[in-house]
Symmetry: C2
C-alpha cells in the first residue's frame, strides 16, 4: 500500500510538472508534434510551432512525461524536437548576440528553411528508432508536402550523420556508464536469428491480422478524435484545468499499471532459467512483484519495464509460455484504452509506442488463439500485428515497413510485413483518415490537401476572390502605402503600372508587405511621381535586408517613423516588385487552381482577367480562399456538404 | 584450342542473334532502357520506347546477351521490361481483338498511365534484385520526374505483389527443377552472419574507398560517354554495321575471358575443402580450368561463373586467400574496360552488374592492400566499394543503399554503406552527371531538367514564343479547322471567343488536336455561326471517345473524309475546350515558367498579355521552347554557352 502511494505520488508529480511546463510556457509543445511539423511544411508559418520555447518544453516535457509512466512514446516529440532544432539553426543564429554566420544566410528563405526542417524531422525519426533509411522515408511519406529530388539526398545525408553519431555514442556507452542507453546496439530489437518459413495457411492468418489491425487502428483514430474534442473543451478553460486533467489521467494510469498485476495469479519460473527468474534488478523479463520466490507476475513484467524492453519481450521468439492469454488480453485492453486517454493531455506524447505495444500484445494473443492453424511463432505474430496497427492508425506504408525492418533486422519477414501493412491501410482507409491528418484538421490549421475538395470542381477562381482588390501604383505616394499597410492585413499587393508610365493599366507584378516595410524604412523617396531606379535603392539597402526574418523578428507598420513631409513623397516600387507572379485566368477551375497553388507552394496567386475590357488583375488568391469552410460560407446553398 | 573455338563461336553467334533482333525489329530495345523510361516519365511520349515489339526484343535480346558472356547486367533491361508490360496493360488491351476490360479504361490518360509505368519500373527492380523496398525507392529517386504521395503507396503495393510471387516461385523451385533460379532464397547474397565492429582507422579506409569509387565512377561515365559517341557513328551506318560491332565486341570479350586465365598460375586447393575443390560441375567457386588435379585457377573461377556467383564470391568473408592481388587486378581491369566497351552495342545491357563486379574486385584489392591498416574483412571492402562505384556512376543514394541492404541482409553495415555512398556521390558530382542523365542528354531527348538552365534567367516567357500564333474561334468553320490541322504540327490551339459571341476578344481556353479530330469525325456541324451545345455533341460521341488512344492508334487528319458541303459548315468548339488552361503572364521569368511547366507536367502553357491594349493570348509555350539548344538558337549572342 505504501509502495502504491509512493508510486502514484511520484507519477502524478512528474505528470503535473510536465503539464505545467506545457501549459504555462509553450502550449504548442503538447501532443505528438508531428501534425504541427506537417502543417509547417505545408506552408503554415505559425510562429509558435517551432519556437525555441517549444523546443525546450518539448525536450523536458517529454522526459518528464515518459518518466511519469504514461502510456506514450518519445518518438513523435523527437521528430518535433529535430524540426525545432533545424528551425533554430535556419534562422541564422541571433543578430542581437552577434551569433551569425555567413553560410547560415542561405536559409533566410522559405524554401531552404523548409528543406532544413524536413531534414530535422528525418533526423528525429532516425535518432528515435535508430533507423536512418526509415527516417528519410518517414520525412518523405508523412511529413513533407513538397518533394524534390534534392530533398532525398539531403535527408539521407542528415540521417547518415545521425547514425554515425549514434554509433559513436553507443560504442562510447558500451561500458554501461550512460544508463539504459548503452544497452543494445544500433538495432534495437535484433531478431535476425529467426528463420521464417511460411505456408498458405500462415498467409491466411497474416491477412486476418491485417484486417483486424486495420479495424482496430481505425477505431483507435475514432476514439482519439472524440477524446481530443472532449479534452479541448477542458483545456480551453486555462492552464490550471490542463494540469488537473493531466494529473487525473496520471492517477488512472498508475492505478491500472499498479492495480491490475495484483489481480493476476503468479506463474512459477521455468526451471531452465533458475538464475534469471525472477529478476529484482532494474530491467529484466521476469518481475517478482507480489509473488513468492521462484515465481513471477507476467503482467507486472510487461508494465514495470521500459517500453523498449516490453516490446522486445513481446517480439521475442520462444517465449510462448511466458505470457498467458489472460495477461495479454488485459495488457492489450489497458494499453489501448490508456493510449487513447493519454494522447491529448498537455504533455509531449508520441503515438508510436502505444500503438506498437497494443499491436504487439494483440498479435501475440491472436497468435496464441490461432496456434492450431498457423505454425508461425507468436513473437512473429506480435511483430506483424504491430505493423498492422501502425498501418491502421498512421496509414504509412514504406516508412513503417523500413522502420520495422531497421528495428528488427529481419529481412526475411519483409514480404509478410508488406502484406500486412497494405491490408491494414486499405481496410482502415474505408473508415477514416490517418491519425495525423485527422489532428491537423481538428486543430483548424489551414492545411492544403493534395486533392482538391469536390466542392471546388463546380467553381472557378473568379468566384472566390471577394472584397475590393487593393492595388498599388508602380510609383506610389508613401502615405498611401502606409495607410494600405495599416488598414489591411494582406501580405501581398498587385502593382499596376498606370498612366503616365504606361499607355493602359498594366500588371507590373506583386509586392510583399515585408519588402514594402523594409523599403519604407530605407527612405528612398522622391518628390515627384518618377522612377527612382534600383541602383538608388540598393545603395542604401543590401539585398540581404529583404531576406526572410527569423521568427517574430520582422518589421511592423507601427515601427515605421515617417514624418509628414515624407508621407507626401513618392516611393518607387519597381525594385522590389516580383515581376514574375504566378497567375491564373479568372475562369480557371478552382480545383485546378488549388492543385497549382499547393503544387508550387505559393502564398499569393494573381487572378488575371480573360478579356480586354477589364483591368488586368481581378483579384488575389491566398491559402484561405481554398479552405472548404470558407468556400462553403460563400456558397452555402449550391454545394453539398 | 578446340574449346576456345567452340566457346568463341557460341558467344559470337548468340551475340549476333541478339544484335540482329535489336537492329532489325526494335532499335529502342538496345542499351539499358532506364534512360528511356526516365524520359518517358518526364513526358516524352515517343511511341517506340514502350512498344510491344520493344518488349519482346528486350526480353529475348537480354537472354541472348547474358548467355553470350558479355559483361552486362539484366537489371536495367528488367526495369524497361517492367515498364513495357505496364504500358501494354495501360493501353487498355486491344479493341481490335475484343480484349478490352472496363476497369482498364482508367488508364486512358497520361497521368494514370505514367503512374502505372512507374509501378512497372519499380516491379522490374524489385524482381531483378529481389528488393521490394529498393524497387520503390529506385522508381522514386531515379525514374520518375513527378512524385505524388499516392505513387509511394502504389509502387509499394506493386512490389509487395512482386515479392509474394517471387517467393512462391522460389519455394516451388526449391527442389532444383528450375535450374539456377531455385538456388538461394529471397536474399541473394546473405551475409548476415558477419559482425561488423569498426574503428576510426576503418572509417578512414572507408572514406578512401568512397573517394576512389567516386573518381573511378566518374571516369567510367566519361568513358561510356566517349564510347557511345564513337559507337553511334558506327551504328548510324545501318543494321549490318550494328551486328558487326556487336560480334567484334563479343570476340574481344571471349578472348579476354578465355585467354587471361591461361596467364594465371594455378593455386593449390586449400586442404580443408578437399571435397569441394576443384569443382568441375556447373556452378562452384574453384574452377579447375587448365590446372592439374587438386589445383584451381582463381581468375577462371571469377570469369567462368554466373555473375551472381562471382559477386557472391567477392562479397564473401573468409575467402581472403582464394583470390590473389594479381587475379583481382586483372579481373578489375578487364571488367571495367569490357563494361565500358559493351555498353552501347546493340544489345539490351544493364550497367548494374558490370559496376558491381568492378567495384567488388577493386574493393577486395584495396582491402588486401590496406590489410595492415584496417581490420575490416576484404569481403566487406568488396561490398563497400561496390556501393561506392554504384554511387559514383549512377549517383543514387537511398535506393542503392536499400538495394544493397536487401541483397546482403546485413543492417549492421548500414552506417558504412551510407557514408561511402555520400562520399562517392559528392566526389563524382564534381566531374560530371550521373550515367543515366548523361545518356538521356546524348540521345537528344527533350528532357526537362529539375532546375532551369542559367540562360533562362535573363529571359521572359514572351521572348521565346516565336512565329505567328494560330488561334481558333470558339465557333469555327470546319474548313478552317481542317486547314489549320493540315498545315501545322501543333497539338494545342488557343480558342478565342470573338464578336458577336463576346463584346471583345476573350480567351476561352485550349483545344487539343486529338480532340478536334474526334469532334470532326463526329460531324456535329451547324449551318451558321452558332453554339451547338454540349448535349448535341455528346449525343453522338461518348466522353470515352476523347480518351487518349493507345500507342500509335490515334486519328490523323488524313483519316477525315469530309465533303465540300461539310467543309463550309461550322463546328462549335466549346464542348471540347479546356476552359482552365494553365497560363503565365508574358513577362514571367522564363526560368520560373520552366519550373512551373515541369512541376505541373504540362504539354502546353498559354502566355497571356499583361496589358489591356493587346489580345488576351500572346503565344503558347511547349516543351521545345524550354530546350537550351532552341533558346541558344534564338539568342546566340546574348547568352554565354
Amino acid at each position: 500500500m505504501m509502495a502504491f502511494v509512493v508510486y502514484i505520488g511520484c507519477n502524478t508529480t512528474l505528470a503535473a510538472a510536465a503539464a505545467a511546463l506545457c501549459a504555462y510556457i509553450a502550449p504548442a509543445a503538447a501532443g505528438s508534434g508531428i501534425p504541427e511539423v506537417k502543417a509547417y511544411l505545408n506552408g503554415i508559418d505559425a510562429h509558435s510551432i517551432l519556437a525555441p520555447s517549444t523546443l525546450l518544453v518539448k525536450i523536458f516535457g517529454s522526459v518528464l512525461g515518459v518518466s511519469a509512466g504514461f502510456v506514450l512514446g518519445k518518438e513523435g516529440p523527437m521528430v518535433h524536437t529535430g524540426a525545432c532544432v533545424a528551425s533554430f539553426l535556419g534562422q541564422g543564429g541571433s543578430r542581437k548576440y552577434g551569433l551569425t554566420w555567413n553560410w547560415i544566410r542561405y536559409f533566410k528563405n522559405d524554401l531552404d528553411r523548409r528543406d532544413l526542417i524536413t531534414c530535422g524531422a528525418a533526423a528525429g525519426v532516425a535518432a528515435a528508432f535508430r533507423a536512418p533509411v526509415g527516417g528519410v522515408l518517414f520525412a518523405l511519406e508523412e511529413v513533407t508536402s513538397w518533394w524534390r529530388s534534392v530533398l532525398l539526398w539531403r535527408t539521407f545525408s542528415t540521417t547518415a550523420v545521425v547514425v554515425m553519431v549514434l554509433r559513436g555514442l553507443i560504442s562510447y556507452c558500451r561500458g554501461g556508464h550512460c544508463g539504459l542507453f548503452g544497452k543494445g546496439g544500433l538495432i534495437m530489437f535484433d531478431l535476425s536469428s529467426r528463420q521464417a518459413a511460411y505456408t498458405a495457411k500462415d498467409l491466411a492468418a497474416v491477412m486476418l491480422l491485417g484486417i483486424l489491425g486495420g479495424l482496430l487502428g481505425a477505431l483507435f483514430n475514432f476514439f482519439v478524435d472524440r477524446i481530443l474534442r472532449v479534452y479541448s473543451l477542458l483545456n480551453e478553460k486555462g492552464a490550471r484545468s490542463k494540469i488537473i486533467l493531466t494529473a487525473t489521467i496520471s492517477v488512472i494510469t498508475s492505478c491500472c499499471t499498479f492495480g491490475l498485476p495484483w489481480l493476476t495469479s503468479c506463474t512459477p519460473c521455468p526451471p531452465e532459467l533458475a538464475g534469471k527468474c525472477p529478476t529484482i534488478g532494474r530491467s529484466g523479463n521476469f518481475k517478482n512483484f507480489q509473488c513468492p520466490a521462484g515465481h513471477y507476475n507476467a503482467l507486472a513484467s510487461l508494465f514495470f519495464n521500459t517500453n523498449d524492453d516490453a516490446i522486445r519481450n513481446l517480439f521475442s521468439a520462444g517465449t510462448d509460455r511466458e505470457f498467458g492469454a489472460a495477461t495479454l488480453l488485459t495488457f492489450f485492453v489497458t494499453v489501448y484504452a490508456l493510449g487513447v486517454l493519454t494522447y491529448g493531455v498537455a504533455v509531449p506524447s508520441g503515438l508510436f509506442i502505444p500503438v506498437i505495444l497494443a499491436g504487439a500484445s494483440f498479435g501475440r494473443l491472436t497468435g496464441a488463439l490461432l496456434g492450431s492453424i498457423s505454425g508461425l511463432d507468436t513473437g512473429l505474430f506480435a511483430l506483424l500485428d504491430a505493423a498492422s496497427f501502425l498501418g491502421g492508425t498512421m496509414r504509412m506504408t514504406v516508412s513503417v515497413c523500413v522502420i520495422l525492418l531497421e528495428l528488427t533486422n529481419d529481412l526475411h519477414l519483409l514480404p509478410l510485413i508488406m502484406l500486412v501493412l497494405l491490408i491494414a491501410k486499405t481496410v482502415a482507409d474505408c473508415f477514416n483518415r490517418g491519425v495525423y491528418e485527422q489532428m491537423v484538421r481538428m486543430k483548424g490549421l489551414p492545411y492544403l490537401e493534395v486533392h482538391a475538395e469536390p466542392c471546388m470542381r463546380s467553381l472557378v477562381a473568379g468566384d472566390v476572390v471577394s472584397g475590393p482588390l487593393i492595388t498599388l501604383s508602380s510609383v506610389e505616394r508613401v502615405g498611401t502605402v502606409v495607410e494600405t499597410l495599416r488598414q489591411t492585413g494582406h501580405n501581398g499587393f498587385p502593382v499596376i503600372e498606370e498612366p503616365p508610365l504606361a499607355a493602359a493599366p498594366e500588371l507590373c507584378g506583386l509586392v510583399l508587405r515585408s519588402h514594402l516595410l523594409v523599403l519604407l524604412q530605407g527612405r528612398t523617396f522622391t518628390r515627384g511621381r518618377a522612377k527612382a531606379g534600383a541602383a538608388e535603392v540598393f545603395r542604401k539597402l543590401a539585398p540581404f535586408d529583404f531576406a526572410k526574418a527569423g521568427s517574430g523578428k520582422g518589421l511592423k507598420v507601427e515601427d515605421l517613423d515617417l514624418s509628414e513631409e515624407e508621407m507626401d513623397m513618392f516611393v518607387d516600387l519597381h525594385p522590389i516588385t516580383n515581376r514574375s507572379p504566378y497567375t491564373v485566368v479568372e475562369n480557371m477551375s478552382l480545383a485546378k487552381a488549388a492543385v497549382l497553388f499547393r503544387g508550387l507552394a505559393l502564398r499569393h496567386m494573381c487572378v488575371v482577367s480573360m478579356t480586354q475590357r477589364r483591368p488586368p488583375v481581378v483579384g488575389i488568391l491566398t491559402r484561405h480562399d481554398f479552405m472548404p469552410q470558407y468556400i462553403r460560407g460563400l456558397y452555402p446553398n449550391t454545394i453539398p456538404r
